[in-house]
């Protein structure tokens, strides 16, 4: 640890400005919302439905996509192959492209004109304007958070432990589940939480794929467009509070899990 005195005084001052920049708009929004407005908004059925929808769709999307994303992370961490850098670049692509463009791309993939859309239609499903479409849009923009965190986690697992497990007669799949996965779990859990949180807050991609049913970020936008700032603000505050509660809860659970393993 560097002694506080050896850090130039300017650094914490500049840092304080950044923190103020983050805190000030949020604090302003919270202070501008009366308890009565908050109470009324939290009773609004549309708000309740949209928050519930946002939470469960993001949760399901995170869990479903993790089934394939975690093995991909392991593969990227453990295997050397020629185009690995390209694959890593593809994984990061959703982070750098505009989310509305991501929404357009997803829409093109699942609309009724597309092959997937036609196959879904033959089963009576239409992903556009459907929670499945929302889940796809959320996963598209948030999956890099999980893959990158899990890949870092697997890379931190000493290769020798896996070699030892193999040498003790375990199959590669058992080595993955009994050694690699538990030891990388801290990073994976962190990645899952980040993917879930990122999914909750997604607006750009979701609004293009599904205006209805309305996830909370879209509802906030709709309230702002139709009724103005005064009506959008309480919904924002309620949603932020719910997200914070979930975020703190999941982080606490992750920490408890960590101390159990220590």
């Amino acid at each position: 640890m560097i002694n506080n005195r050896s850090t130039p005084l300017l650094f914490p001052l500049l840092g304080g400005l950044i923190l103020l920049f983050i805190i000030a708009p949020l604090a302003n929004m919270f202070l501008a919302t009366t308890p009565n407005q908050l109470f009324e908004t939290s009773k609004d059925q549309d708000v309740i439905d949209s928050i519930f929808l946002t939470l469960w769709v993001s949760f399901v999307s995170t869990i479903v996509f993790s089934v394939a994303a975690i093995p991909l992370s392991y593969y990227l961490a453990r295997t050397k192959f020629r185009f690995k850098n390209i694959i890593n670049g593809i994984v990061d692509l959703p982070v750098v492209i505009p989310h509305s463009a991501a929404g357009i791309a997803i829409l093109g993939l699942i609309s009724r004109d597309s092959t997937i859309g036609q196959v879904a239609s033959s089963f009576g499903l239409n992903f556009v304007g459907h929670p499945v479409g929302i889940a796809l849009a959320m996963a598209f923009v948030s999956i890099p958070f999980l893959i990158n965190a899990a890949r870092d986690g697997f890379e931190n697992v000493p290769l020798k432990l896996e070699k030892t497990a193999l040498n003790l007669g375990a199959s590669p799949i058992r080595v993955f589940f009994s050694i690699s996965l538990p030891l990388a779990w801290k990073n994976i859990l962190s990645g899952l939480i980040m993917m879930f949180a990122r999914g909750l807050s997604e607006f750009g991609a979701v609004i293009i794929v599904a205006y209805h049913p309305m996830v909370t970020p879209v509802l906030i936008f709709e309230r702002f467009g139709s009724f103005g700032l005064k009506y959008a603000r309480p919904v924002s505050v309620v949603f932020i509070l719910v997200c914070l509660v979930f975020f703190i809860l999941l982080r606490t659970l992750a920490k408890e899990k960590k101390s159990e393993n220590a």
Partner: protein, 346 residues
Amino acid sequence: MLKLKDISVKLGDFKLENINLELDKGDYYVLLGKSGVGKTVLLEIIAGLIKPDSGQVFLKDENITNEKIQNRQVGIVFQDYSIFPHLSVKQNIAYSLKGKKLSNKQKEALIHQYAQLTEVTHLLNRNTTNLSGGELQRVALARMLVSKPKCLLLDEPLASLDVQMKGGLRNLLRQINQSGVSILHVTHDYEEAIALSNKVAVIHDGEIIQKGLTKEVFQKPATEFVANFTGIKNFFHAEFSPLNTAKINGTLEINVSNKDQIKNGKIIIRGEEILLSNEKIESSATNNFKGKIVQIIPYLTNYEIIVNVGVDLTVVITEKSLQKFKFRKGSIVWVSFKSTVIKIIP
């Protein structure tokens, strides 16, 4: 039992070439070599963790070169123990038993049997994070032995332990070997080879430069490298004359007892058998040389004095002698040794 045939591998700048080695059942084979010479790589090749570029590995006459790692039945214990940190001591030891057709009672019995052998029974329910190096090594051995490998591969098992722990673990390794487990142990420490092995191979520059019974290799080192590496300090090439004299390293002429009339060979003079004095002493020793002390190296119980008499001779003396005769770096001294203490290797 275990046979390596013409194993070669190149990994970056480092290579192993034409390694041939054979372990019989019950052998305690020590592979001796400097750090970074490829000893661990060789163990990993046997265990199947690295594929050789060429050559074959046989276990009980069966070619296992391309066998899956988990089916090889050779157990490797790494230098850093590789204990699974998220599992308890008992879970570590039991790791290889999962999926085996054994009842829980049988599994428990096996765990306790090997925990008892390695003296870790009292640690069974402990977490592994606070164990000492010696305890971790014992847990690693117990874990490997439970899987009943046909051959045990040990990668510098005593390197990270203090002297007291080393003694205890050496006894354990002897016990394991005496129970019928063949062991291939790699180390850079020749004392481990002397203490444990019945066979030894010396590896240098990616090749095995000498192998055989431990006694033979230590008594008849084939090269200066082997001699130095096996702890022999005074090893010289010698040209013998018919008059029972020999010129060592082409410079110093000494008296020898050359009964077999050898013309060219090597000689070994043990440092403990050379006398060191401030003045020339009259004795039955026929080799008396004046020289200068170039270095004094302290060891645990004694001192190594390197005296240049045309060649560098290492003389071993006690601390008491060092103080009594006040030997210092740069002192002019006399070294004496009898021709009968000179060991001649053809």
